[in-house]
Symmetry: C2
Subunit: 337 residues, 2 copies
């Protein structure tokens, strides 16, 4: 296999010093144009590739960024990663992936075992039952920047990228109201999660604005899966006052609602309207197609990564909170005729 080409080899061949080669390669301008050219062309010819372990050791940067998130097996997160990857690739950074399975223990263990020496920064979406976020603060204190996306740790002072949860929920509910629904239920996520709260508030405020009642029995907190969507919906159908529309915290639960309603012979749209949140591709495939708020997943990824790169490249970069708006996608599940 022969050993990989190093700057030493190049230096020897060209009869210059390693530092000259290093400087030429990194475009430091106190290098003679001629020798620089020779160095670059020889490097290209020899297919020289820098050893990042060495550069990392020498100057403490690795061009690796860590991405910590609950899952990747859903549309939203896998699209976010694709966005992150796009920006990272363009800037010559690599993505190291950590999956928490939405378990805070796993998250903690990942973070604590993280070898920061191999990471220039971290992009994270916290797991839903994360009670404390001290471990993140410690990382930041040790000098590794973090940018939170989607599921943020709100008490930590760093950049955050979110979708417009409040506004999206508000818009979703307003759409239901404008479509003529008046008894609007909300099947929410687990309590205590930031974005769940925001969507709930958007829901409540939209009702308030239009002078509609928010009955306690119409608001159900549970998990994020389709199964919870189903059981929540069965519960709603038992209510003393049956709702005529359901705002689901995400598309998975909206799908669960659709399934439950179908099972009970309820005509979706006409009798009970359903709206979700995410715009999972499945929304257009299922019948009836599901009205939803499209989350800008890809942009969340690119924006977060951009921001992290800024934190990495200028320390003391001022933390920013960016909220990317969602977009109402009207489909059959909220059509009354």
């Amino acid at each position: 296999m022969g050993h990989a080409v190093t700057i030493k080899d190049i230096a020897k061949i060209l009869n210059v010093s390693v530092s000259t080669v290093s400087r030429a390669l990194r475009d430091t301008y106190d290098v003679n144009q001629e020798t620089k050219k020779r160095i670059l062309s020889l490097a290209a010819e020899l297919n020289y590739k820098p050893n990042f372990n060495a550069t990392g050791l020498a100057q403490g940067s690795t061009h690796n960024i860590g991405v910590v998130l609950p899952f990747i097996t859903n549309y939203y997160f896998s699209t976010v990663i694709t966005g992150i990857q796009e920006v990272a690739y363009d800037n010559n950074y690599n993505i190291i992936l950590f999956i928490t399975n939405d378990s805070s223990e796993r998250e903690l263990s990942i973070i604590q075992n993280l070898s920061l020496s191999r990471l220039d920064g971290l992009l994270v979406s916290v797991s839903s039952n994360s009670d404390s976020c001290n471990h993140f603060q410690e990382i930041i204190d040790e000098g590794t920047p973090i940018v939170f996306f989607d599921r943020i740790a709100s008490n930590i002072d760093t950049s955050k990228v979110m979708q417009g949860d409040y506004k999206g929920a508000f818009e979703a509910v307003e759409h239901l109201i404008e479509s003529g629904y008046t008894k609007i239920a909300h099947i929410a996520g687990p309590k205590g999660l930031d974005f769940t709260e925001k969507r709930l508030n958007g829901y409540l405020d939209a009702l308030k604005k239009h002078g509609l009642a928010a009955r306690e029995e119409w608001i159900i907190f549970s998990g994020f899966s389709q199964e919870y969507g189903e059981t929540d919906t069965y519960q709603l159908l038992q209510c003393e006052q049956r709702p005529d529309a359901i705002f689901a915290v995400n598309d998975r639960k909206a799908i669960g609602a659709i399934v439950a309603l179908k099972n009970n012979g309820v005509i979706i749209g006409k009798e009970i309207g359903v709206i979700g949140f995410t715009d999972d591709p499945i929304c257009t495939i299922i019948s009836p197609s599901i009205t939803t708020i499209a989350e800008p997943a890809f942009e969340i990824g690119t924006t977060s990564c951009d921001l992290l790169l800024k934190h990495i490249n200028k320390k003391n970069f001022n933390p920013q909170e960016i909220i990317l708006p969602g977009k109402l996608m009207v489909r059959d599940s909220t059509r009354r005729n």
Copy 2:
């Protein structure tokens, strides 16, 4: 932030040499039990974490493995990655993710720009239009092991992990036949891709075994997306001899077929049966639910990663080809009543 704890610090505090610390930490047995204990407990107390840039530099291993694949935004690949991640995590390896967007140019550029010095091995699923695979051979020749999964480069001598494409397809078609369908069409993937060929052959052989005709107009090659599934199906409906069942190369195309048939008022199952391949969760959500061959995506991930680790840890590990069987999931799209 203070600098991170190094073995030097530990050595100084304990009044031993760095080499002793290094040996103790790595469980090399020529270290006094007593001093070893003291070293380990101090390391734990100080929250010592090895600098992998340094270990990488010193001994040429990084505990990073690269994963190169076309997409992550679908059920199959994201589940495979989750499997890979599970094994990597347990063995203290990190995953570095590279997404080719199914473009062979991008793939080539990724591979050529790969800094092998930061990778102990590579897990790859090639992009569909990859004409040449020399770049992979070069990587292997330079000493970095590769394991292929799913979409393999068949002419390269290294370990490969696949699902039972031939057998799965055979079983799918046999299921159709046993369900009473006789005029069975196949909407395939693009020509020239290994697993597409295998599924095609499984289809052909199952027909042959049962003495059924394989008409050329019933076999359509196109892309993998739902849209192709739709257009392929419209084309089938135009055939002189209309087929009474469709074997789709994957679930996405099966969904396309379902949509197209619904649009044309065809009763799925009764008039035309549809079977897919993958077991995307959507199969159970869509109506009618889709019969399919479940791919062992998670196991593909864990198996590939296991195998790669073996290649990394013993050079000259003998390449293995592992085929993991799929599983027939019977649902409504192939029920005739």
